[in-house]
Structures are given as C-alpha cells and as structure tokens.
Symmetry: C2
Subunit: 515 residues, 2 copies
C-alpha cells in the first residue's frame, strides 16, 4: 500500500479479452466466499471513499451483479437528515451496520464528512484529527466484534478528473450530472488530495488497511477492487478462531480472578477506577412515609417543568437502570415517568435480544433507541448486560467483556459529546432484603410474574455479580456519564434519590445550554 | 354504549375505600390476562381518544404501574415529523404496531388528526369521512389478523374542562401546562363534541366498539377503563380459534377450488377482475442483441434524468418484482439500478421473515421500507407472497389469503394516494425455459447458489402457482397500481420492457406534478 496517490496513477489499461477471461473465475470465487461467510455468520463492511468520478458507484453496481444481491445492502450518505442530526454523528452508521452473513457497501460514509469539512476549512485541524480518532475507535470495535472491514480509496488524477467533468459538461444530456459545487471542488483538488493522503496515512494504523486504486481505467480498477475484496474475505475466513459478535459461549471465565487481571490501559488510567464503592454504601438509609409522599409530588412537578424546558432547548436525556433482581428498578421508573409527559419519553425494557439483534454488534440495539432531540429514553437494564450477566454467565468470552468497558466508554462519550444528559443508576439491596422481596412476590398474586427460576439462579451467583458490578462502576464512571449508587433497601429513599438526581442533572444541563 | 356523551356525564364518585378494595383483585386479573396473552401470542392495541384533561395520560401511567411494563409500549403522537410527512399518513401507526404478546397504548393516535382538522374546518366533510373510512379499514385488517383492539373515548363535560383549565392557569407552577391553543380549543367545545359523537357513531360499525368514559372522577374512570380492558382481554382469550398473524399453518387449502369460490365483494366488482391474462401472453417475443445494448444504455440514461427530476419534485417510487424462480427478476433489477444514483434507491430482497417480523401483521415489514420523498424502493419479491407462496404452500389459512387481496388493495391505495409511483412487474417464463435455466445454473459454478431444492419443489406446483398468479393479477390490478406482465423467455426483451415501463410512468407522474 502506498501513502502517496501519485505512485498509483498511470497503471496500464487491462485489455478487454484479459478482463473477460478473468471474470468467470473471479465471480465463482466471490460467490463461494460469500456463501462461506453466510455459513460462518460473519458480517462484512466495505467502505468506498475517494475522488468523485473514480467509479465508486459503478463498483457497487458490479459487486451487486457479480454476487448474490440478496445478501448485499448498499448505503449511500448525503447531508444528515433532520432526525439524523438529532442524534450523535455515528448514529446513522450504527443503524446501518451489517448483520452476520450480510455484506454492507458504504458510499460517502464516515470519511466523507470530516474530509470535505476540512477541505473547505469548516473545521479546525484539531477537530479533524478528533474525527479521525473517533473513526478509528468505531472501526476498532467493529473489527474486534467480528466485522470484516474492507476500505477502498478510489483515486483519480487531477487531469483525469477535469477530463471527466468536461466530458459530462459538454453534453446537454449529461450536463446536469455535474453536481453543484463539482467544479469548485475540483479547484480544491490539491488540498483534497493532501488531506486524503493524511487520512489514509493516519487510518492505516487502524484495524483495516486501505486499498488505493486508480479509477482511470474501468476494467483495471474493477479487477483490482474485486480481487482485493476476494482476498480479504478469504483471509478472514481462514482466521482460525474469529470472535463473533453476540454468539453464545460455553466456555466460562473466572470473573473474580480476571477482574483483577485487567490491564491498566490508557482509558483505565484516565478514569482512575475506584473499586469498593458498593461496599461503602449505607443501606440503612430510609425515608418516612409522609415525607416520601410530599417529596414525590413536588419532585414530579419539578421534573415536569425541567423536562419541558429541556425539550425547548432540545436537550435529550438517557437514563440507565441497573440493579439486582427485585432491587426496585421498575418501581423507581414508574415514579419517575409519572413526572413526564407521555409524549416525551420511552421506556425500553431490555430482555433477550431478537434474532436480528443477535446478528449485530451488541451495541447496535441500544444505538437504535437513542432519543430524538428533547426527549427521554429510559433503559430498564442496558448495554451493561455485557459486563454483568454475559460476563457472569459466560455468554461473552473473556476478551469480549473485558474490552466492553472501553467500548461502552466510547459509546457514552459520543452521547455526552452530542449534548445528551446521561445518568446511570445502580440500585443496590442486600441479600436479606432480596430474599424478603422474593418471598413477598411469591405470596402476592399480581406480583408473581416478577419472580422466576432465573431470579433464584442469579441469587446463587451473588458474589460473582458483586465483583462484576464493582468493576463496572469503577471502570465506566465518568463525570459526564456518572454512576449514581442508590441505596435500595428502602424503596421510598431510592425513588426520591432517583428523582432528585434526574432533576439536579437537568438543572445543570439547562444552565449550561444557552436559550 | 351510548352515542351521546351527555348521558354518561355525572356518574357518581367512587369512594376511596371502595377503590382501594377493588385494586388487588383487578391487578391480579389484569396480570393474569397479560400473561395469557403472551402465551397465546396475541397483540393488543389500546387507543385513547377524547377530551384533553380527561385523564388519558394518567390512565396510561396506571396501566404501566398495574401490569408488567416490559410488555407495554406507549406511543403518543404529535404533528408528523419531517420523515413521517414523507410517507403515507398511516405509516407511523404501522411502524408502531404491537407485536404478538405486546400491549400497545396509543395516545392522540389516528382519530386525533381528522377530528382536530375538522374542528378547525381545515378539511372538508368529504375528506373527514374518507379519513374515517380509512381508519375503519386499518382497524379491520388489524382485527382480522389477530390484533385485540380496544378503543377508549375519555370525555369531560364543558364546565369540567373549563374548571380544569382555570385551575392550571391560576397557579404559576402549572400555568405553562396549559398548552398553546387550549383555551381556543375550549371555545370550540360544542363543535368538538358534535364531531366526536359523529366519529364514535360512525366507527361503532367498525370491528371494535368504543368505551365512553366520563373523566371527571379519577377513581371512577380508572376502575371503569381497567375493568373494560380486562373484560375485553378475557373475551378475546376465550375466542375458540383466533386467527393469528403470520403463524405457520399445517392445514393446507385447496387453492384451485377456492380461487373460484372467492365472493364478488364490493372491491372485487369495482376492480372488474379479468382472469386469464397470463395465458394470453406472447412468450415468443425477443429483442436482438445489438438493439438491446443500444436501448439499454439510452433507457438507463433516460431513467437517470427522470429520477433526478422526480427527486426534485419529491415523487417517490415503489417497484415490485414477482415472477417464477429463474424468471430473471434479479437481472432486470440490476439493469434498472444501473440507471439510478446509488444514493437514491434501495433494493429490498424479501426472504423468510425475522422473528420480529413474524410477530407482526404481515404487511408491517413492507410498510417499514417505504421510501422517503423522492427516493426509489425496489422489492425483490413482496407482500404478494401472501397470495402466492403462502397460499400455495398453505402457510396462510384460506380466509387469511383470501382477505389479503382487499388488504393489499387498501395498502397500495394509500401509497398511490400519497403520490407514490407504484408499478408491479410479473415476469413470466414457460416451463421449458425454467428447466433450461435451472440446468444452466447447475452447470455454471457462480450461478449454483441461485438454485436450491426449494426451486425444484416449487416447480412441481407450477399449476397451483399459475392459478394463484392469475387471481392475484385479476384482483389487485388497478390503474394507479398496475400489474405489468413481462414476457420473460427472452431476457433482453424483459429487461428493456421493465426499463421502458418505469420511464413511462415517471414521465406521466412528472407531467402531473407541478414543479
């Protein structure tokens, strides 16, 4: 791979006969690889970036023609639409992630925006570099979770692009195909290429290298791209033990030992993890019935008003509720939403994933539910399942849940960076209180649905869960994405603490957001 | 049920003790019904309509508190957002349909818009009545496909609503809760009630009766609504053989006999079905190679320009491709999309439904994919599977596929009514040609994936499929949603006919749409 685009210009033109002879075998092998991928349940994502007119769209059409198009999804991006703008930048790419066995083709995707904004000096060098770092993390989490990522940069020399534009402009039938700003962009050609080289160089360190192709000769570029995709697919298929996203595991880690074995990576040091927070909680905290009733009403009224202000200022809120079985998550959520307008919130209960969800990166189903501007999404259990139940039960492999801390921090960082208010509640009860509640649930007919065999099984793993929670809180607490530990033995205390915390955070966010 | 709201006003207030005593049993029974519904995989949709301030939102909160909130989804609607406006009116209600075992609560849903528009005289009486008819059809297809639909109209007397507004307005803490236009709406109270009575009377003929509740006393209305929901759920659970949406069937219909047994219902007469269209096709039509190549390029160029114009005028296009196995759907679609900008189209291959799709009305997954304004969606197989494979293989019961013709006509009518260009291609080959292509696919390595055991099985059902296709074309052809029969024995002829047809229809649509 070359970092200078000029080096790859001027490669010879492939003869027509040579091209025709090559196709049948190439198609056979591509189709065979596609079928093998389907069996292996691997997702493939092919990113096409580069110069307009270098043949990106034609390449997409060719791949659809040569392979089984039922397994291929093409995504092409323009300016974010209104609903996309209301979510973090990467929301639409997460939404369009390829599932297991699918091949996604991405045109003008995540590299396009930072490049064009920087070409036109609409973002600073720092922001441009930050964009690139975020892309690197995005691609890293995809690759680590089983995505085969292939990146193609399609180049066209300055003269060749001018010729192409001139040819289109000279014919009244094709003149309109020269998009507004195309000539202006060509005027920035040198700067465009300089920044493209910078992107390619910087992202070469990422998990997937670039193939740079000169788009001048159609047959040459088509063979080159198709062969590269083929060889990348074949190489991925030969990987002895690919780590598939969300596949259930049988081998079970020993969480207690391994939680201590987590290396002090950069993000870890930055977060200064403090373990042992849960042990320090004072679970004897209570609140009197009268005071509870009074506070409940006034806090719900306050919340109603704050959320109304937040809506006007387009501040979104994401609330996460985690806790042991019977810790009182549902009850706390109900008291909370009584202070919200039904049009403004959604409660997302997280149960077993659907088969569509299972076929994607484990964060995919949470990205889907991010709120629109000014709305509230409440997750009743969340992405933290990865480092709680999936870790304890061994549904995730050890490296999977270990790297999840960093993946979750990155996800939450993007949410906060977008201006979303994010609060994560851990409601803690002790073992005696849980038993008391289990027994009560068994006795009260309309509460019996709340208690299952699984709850009793989980209870036996109390200590393993406690270690997992301790790691989770230590490794994913951040000033902008705080864990709030809620003493749950007294339900009244817990519910009021949740309401108070949400109100406090909204007040701070409202103060910091200009009207 | 009363059609006059005044009759239900002034019911007594429930005593606090009576209310408290009633709750435990009621909750028990509601939870039991919810669990039975989950087991029976029945979807429930509860619509709340009526006067602002009558307690709709509080009722939703109460139901969430009393039942298992993990099985309840609340949807509240405001003005359609930009992406909702780009689809037919009912798109957002289809998107939010309850799945099997789920309970959906709908606030300010489909009754809200026609009512308010008519109150403010923004739509004519005729359009208002048309809205109501569309709602009736929508509810009918839901109920016929297994949805338990419960409709609650929450009323509030004129004086009671005024009092409520005055109370809110008098306190600076609650003043802002009086929404803009609330007092103006109250000024239209009599007209609002008159039209509400009209709605309730007219939609009483629909598949689900209204419960009209006076919202004046909180405890009274809460018990009344909860008990009504409970009794409706219990009644539905006792239905001996509910027809579940999309459940696989073992009993197989005899399509040949039954296709003739279809009654001449109103829509059937209106459509004047002409059977025997397929037998009249001249499958010997061919196109010379040179002419094909020339036409292909020029039509693709033409399509590119037409679609560009359509995009500017925000005209959406939906194309449906059906045909026997190996009829050439994929090849025709590929030649078509070569004439489209990759950013402007999506090809949706319809394979076996995901489990999420299986848990919904069979049309749900197609509604999801409707294009945004100015874009093209191409369905490679479609909703017609209901009256083709599901009919022939017995996956749908006889009444299910028989009523599907009317359901599909209604769906397509809404699409066309929204201004979408809709064309349905049936590509027909004869039995010899199919055999020839199957053999060729077996021989060509990169085409082997196209041929499966299922194709050979389907081939044995050739005549049953032919009868189903004949019915389908006769019963779902409409001037604005035409079936275009494509002679497919010669691929060149078929591909050109498809391209020509799409261009023609776009030209007509462009002429009819003001710039």
């Amino acid at each position: 791979m070359s970092a200078s685009f000029e080096d790859i210009e001027g490669r010879g033109k492939t003869k027509k006969s040579e091209y025709k002879d090559a196709i049948p075998d190439l198609r056979n092998e591509l189709v065979a690889a596609q079928q093998a991928l389907l069996k292996a349940r691997r997702p493939v994502m092919v990113v096409f970036a580069g110069v307009d007119g270098a043949g990106k769209h034609e390449m997409v059409n060719t791949l659809n023609a040569w392979m089984d198009p039922r397994g291929i999804m093409t995504h092409a991006y323009v300016e974010p639409n209104p609903l996309e703008k209301e979510r973090p930048l990467f929301w639409r790419y997460w939404r369009d992630l390829a599932g297991n066995g699918q091949i996604g083709l991405y045109l003008s995707a995540w590299y396009s925006r930072p490049l064009l904004l920087r070409v036109h000096r609409q973002i600073s060098k720092d922001l441009f570099n930050q964009h690139l770092r975020e892309i690197e993390k995005f691609e890293q989490t995809l690759c680590e979770n089983g995505v085969i990522l292939i990146k193609i940069w399609m180049h066209l020399g300055k003269k060749d692009q001018r010729k192409r534009l001139e040819k289109l402009s000279s014919d009244p039938n094709t003149e309109w195909q020269v998009k507004p700003g195309a000539w202006e962009n060509w005027g920035h050609y040198d700067r465009f290429i300089e920044l493209s080289e910078e992107i390619v160089q910087k992202s070469a360190k990422g998990p997937s290298p670039w193939l740079i192709v000169d788009g001048k000769h159609k047959r040459t570029r088509t063979l080159r791209v198709a062969r590269e995709i083929l060889s990348r697919l074949e190489a991925a298929l030969e990987t002895p033990e690919p780590v598939l996203a969300n596949a259930a595991r049988t081998s079970k880690g020993s969480p207690k030992r391994l939680s201590k074995g987590l290396s002090m990576s950069a993000w870890n040091r930055r977060m200064k993890p403090k373990r042992g927070q849960l042990a320090k909680m004072d679970l004897s905290k209570t609140l009197e019935r009268d005071l509870y009733k009074k506070n409940l009403k006034s806090l719900q009224r306050k919340l109603y008003q704050l959320q109304h202000q937040a809506k006007l200022k387009k501040i979104s809120t994401v609330l996460v509720f985690e806790g042991q079985d019977a810790a009182g998550k549902g009850g706390a959520i109900r008291r909370l939403v009584q202070g919200l307008d039904a049009q403004e919130y959604s409660v997302i209960p997280i149960a077993a994933p659907t088969d569509e969800e299972k076929a994607h990166h484990y964060l995919w189903r949470f990205w889907r539910h991010l709120p629109r501007a000014g709305r509230v999404t409440i997750f009743d259990r969340s992405w933290y399942g990865r480092v709680l139940v999936e870790r304890v039960e061994g549904f995730a492999r050890i490296p999977e849940w270990q790297r999840a801390y960093a993946e979750i921090n990155e996800f939450e960082h993007q949410l906060c960076d977008h201006g979303t208010v994010l609060i994560k509640f851990w409601i803690q009860i002790d073992k005696d209180e849980q038993l008391r509640r289990f027994e009560e649930r068994k006795k009260t007919p309309y509460k019996q649905w709340k208690i299952t065999e699984e709850d009793w099984r989980n209870r036996k793993q109390w200590d393993a869960y406690a270690a997992a929670v301790d790691d989770m809180v230590a490794l994913t607490h951040a000033p902008k994405a705080p864990w709030v530990l809620v003493e749950g033995n007294d339900k009244a205390h817990a519910r009021i603490k949740v309401l108070e915390t949400v109100c406090q955070h909204l007040e701070v966010a409202l103060k910091q957001t200009p009207g």
